[in-house]
């Protein structure tokens, strides 16, 4: 590649470290239910406390644990979104694709997931969507059990109500 006398100016240094990850208790509870096909949020134990999906171990607003479980719907509202035109390292999905911030009915915080079965240009804030699940035999401890969300024929949610819908969604 380089001749004998050429000065070395750069080197390649492989740094590969192995870890054994253990999910935290709150995420593990969430993932265990997800394996059963259920989206389960968590909240603090005080009445009316916000519901987190996915939960990460605390209500970040107060720093208290989220030890109450609340099943939420697999219907959700688009809080916002982006159309991604570049590949994600290590992810086979082909651009362009829609990554949306979605709030499940019954939850008070958004998570990100893919949207499909839609015209990318028609995706909009307030749009109603529902999960498209993978076949049950493929379910694992993963949000990937939901293949993506697709638009459904329900009226848009006014922006001020996004993130505040009950688990019954718009019907309530």
């Amino acid at each position: 590649m380089s001749d004998e006398n050429e000065m070395i100016t750069g080197i390649e240094v492989p740094i590969y470290l192995k870890y054994n990850f253990t999910a935290g208790a709150a995420p593990a509870r969430f993932l265990s239910q997800l394996k059963e096909g259920k989206l389960t949020g968590q909240s603090r134990s005080d009445p009316g406390a916000p519901v987190y999906v996915p939960p990460r171990g605390s209500c970040p607003a107060t720093g208290q644990p989220t030890d109450t479980e609340v099943e939420v719907a697999d219907k959700a509202t688009v809080q916002s979104f982006t159309i991604v035109h570049i590949p994600i390292p290590g992810n086979p999905i082909e651009p362009p694709f829609v990554v949306a911030n979605l709030v499940a009915d019954g939850a008070n915080i958004s998570f990100i997931h893919l949207m499909s079965e839609c015209d990318n240009e028609q995706v909009h804030i307030g749009q109603r969507v529902q999960a498209v699940w993978r076949p049950e035999e493929e379910w694992d401890y993963s949000m990937d059990n939901i293949k993506y969300f697709k638009p459904i024929d329900e009226p848009d949610v006014p922006v001020e109500h996004i993130g505040k819908l009950p688990v019954t969604g718009l019907e309530a």
Binding site: E4, E6, M7, I8, T9, G10, I11, E12, V13, P14, I15, Y16, L17, K18, Y19, N20, F21, T22, A23, A25, A26, P27, A28, R29, L31, S32, Q33, T40, D67, T68, E69, Y141
Partner: protein
């Protein structure tokens, strides 16, 4: 509250970094490729191997290279009875601080030996080169007892 399962999963955090070396590290690695070992003269005249870019005492930039010997003396060592996967040898070996002839400051590298008993502080060792030197610290495959 549901009982969570313990969810374990192994993963690898890995990247092959592309490091630019700058002139001092680059010169040392270039010499390694040619199977030479160079040090650098510190502000107080001590020869440091591998060459540091900056003097630890005065913070001055260093630039005066000195070729040193490929043999030297063990200043201290640690005997690795159970090598780890990342380690350079699958067999037990010694990490050592080795002061090369012509150097004043020891360098850290490893010493191949059939047994711990053969290694000692003050023992003489000699650099062994890898078959295909490429300008990397492991061009010195290891040190062997003389």
């Amino acid at each position: 509250m549901s009982q969570p399962e313990i969810l374990n999963q192994a993963f690898e955090l890995g990247f092959t970094y592309t490091r630019s070396t700058g002139p001092v590290v680059g010169r040392f690695l270039t010499e390694l490729k040619k199977r030479n070992i160079v040090g650098i003269k510190a502000s107080d005249g001590r020869v440091i191997v591998p060459p540091m870019e900056y003097d630890p005492d005065t913070a001055e930039e260093l630039s005066e290279f000195v070729e040193v010997g490929q043999e030297g003396e063990i200043i201290s060592f640690a005997w690795v009875k159970h090598p780890r996967e990342a380690h350079p040898s699958e067999r037990p070996f010694a990490w050592a601080m080795i002061k090369l002839d012509g150097a004043d400051v020891p360098m850290v590298h490893w010493v191949a030996s059939d047994s711990e008993e053969l290694v000692s502080t003050g023992a003489r060792v000699k650099a062994t080169w890898s078959d295909d030197t490429k300008g990397y610290i492991t061009d010195i495959a290891c040190f062997e007892l003389v």
